[in-house]
């Protein structure tokens, strides 16, 4: 399948929340690593990141974003028919974080609530999932909460954020076009290898090794094959963008903004150059907010596109890609949406 269209679905609003704790990729490293870090920052384009307090979960950020969005939209809690959380850092392994949030947000017990396990590609897939429920006529109003708690002091890429997107049934709303893809043969490219049922956590996973800088690495740490992820991203994403545009019958020049998952500068700039897109139409938040996993598209919208999306009609192309491997594109129109200022807690 891959390609599909949904009608009568409107994005009513998007809110994003990041932690107040700021990490500097240049300052917060060993002095001996400074020169290496300067070169790294130049290439990945990430100067600062946000990291949760130890006690904070992704859901705490998403909760704040949701409450702000509902208040500004003036939507009643009783109006929400579905709440889907897309994260890879749930509060607990079980039960679903979405169900806990149903109660914390004061939503009705008739709310459909569950989690979806997707990372950097989450946003277009989530729009398709909830958009399908709405387009079918089954529900009228829904919330999609996307984000992760993925930052660590040592890793220079990842940053924490929680976001909320409000979707509603709107007769005659412009169509949303999707291209959604999955390639499980690449599942090892980004993986937390330990803690699931293939390799349950055991005593020997607690024994770290020390690298040449003196940093400790545990067998249970996230594994990321940089070359595989780079090649996947720069080969698959431009092709998918062109395929979605052709399917939707939309010219590149008709799209006001191309909002891609913020992976790192090397990947995002290569995608932009291959598509011959001008920088002004490809907003980036890598420098200030790093790679916020599935939240990076809404975070970029909140930080960079607030004014244009609040006033008038804008055509967007959204591109999420990463862990899975999984990649999705969505072309949609956003009209007079509610976009609160980026929230910091």
């Amino acid at each position: 399948m891959g390609l599909s269209t949904l009608n009568n679905v409107r994005v009513a609003g998007i809110a994003s929340c990041v932690p107040k704790r700021v990490l500097s990729n240049l300052e917060d490293c060993r002095p001996s690593q400074r020169a290496e870090r300067e070169r790294l920052v130049r290439n990945i384009g990430i100067e600062h990141r946000r990291i949760c307090q130890e006690w904070q979960c992704f859901s705490d950020l998403a909760l704040v974003a949701t409450e702000r969005l509902l208040d500004e939209l003036k939507w009643g809690r009783h109006e929400i028919d579905a709440l889907v959380v897309i994260t890879q850092s749930p509060d607990y392994l079980i039960p679903s974080t979405a169900i806990i949030l149903q109660d914390r947000l004061g939503l009705e017990q008739t709310t459909i609530a569950y989690d979806v396990n997707l990372g950097c590609s989450a946003y277009p897939f989530g729009l398709h999932l909830l958009g399908s429920m709405i387009a079918s006529g089954a529900i009228k109003k829904a919330l999609m909460l996307v984000g992760d708690k993925c930052a660590t002091v040592r890793d220079p890429l990842f940053s924490d954020a929680g976001t909320a997107t409000a979707l509603e049934f709107a007769e005659g709303a412009p169509p949303m076009h999707f291209d959604l893809n999955s390639d499980g043969s690449g599942y090892k490219a980004i993986i937390l290898p330990v803690g699931g049922h293939r390799e349950p956590f055991a005593y020997h996973h607690c024994i770290p090794r020390r690298d040449e800088h003196g940093d400790l690495h545990w067998p249970a740490d996230l594994m990321l094959d940089g070359v595989a992820v780079l090649n996947f991203s720069i080969q698959r994403v431009p092709t998918a963008v062109e395929r979605t545009l052709a399917y939707a019958g939309v010219q590149m020049s008709d799209v006001d903004y191309f909002v891609f998952h913020q992976a790192n500068r090397m990947i995002n700039e290569t995608i932009r150059k291959k598509l011959r897109l001008p920088e002004q139409r490809v907003p980036s938040t890598l420098k200030e907010y790093g790679n916020t996993s599935g939240a990076s598209i809404p975070v970029t919208i909140s930080a960079k596109l607030r004014q244009p999306l609040q006033n008038g009609k804008r055509k967007l192309l959204l591109g999420g890609f990463g862990i899975g491997l999984s990649w999705g594109t969505c072309i949609l129109e956003v009209t007079n949406a509610c976009i609160p200022e980026l929230i910091t807690v």
């Binding site: 300067e38 070169r39 790294l40 290439n43 070359v227 780079l230 090649n231 080969q235 090397m266 290569t270």
Partner: protein, 75 residues
């Protein structure tokens, strides 16, 4: 051989070493002090953007010298 010279220039830009080094076709990658995963990613991007050629991690692992990477381009 102008295309090889141009490749060597592109190579040096792509690897973005902090310290200037001289690179020739026969230079061994392992002898370059800053040849690392970041440099490898830069070279892969350069090969894609400048030459339209996809280089995999295995391709790069099989290269001993800078010229070995150039040969992967099949120019």
């Amino acid at each position: 051989m102008p295309t090889l010279d141009a490749f060597l220039e592109n190579f040096l830009v792509a690897v973005d070493f902090q310290e200037a080094v001289e690179v020739r076709a026969e230079t061994k990658l392992a002898d370059l002090p800053e040849w690392d995963s970041l440099a490898a990613l830069g070279v892969i991007v350069m090969c894609d953007i400048e030459y339209g050629k996809t280089i995999t991690g295995d391709d790069l692992s099989s290269c001993v010298t800078v010229e070995d990477i150039y040969k992967l381009l099949g120019l």
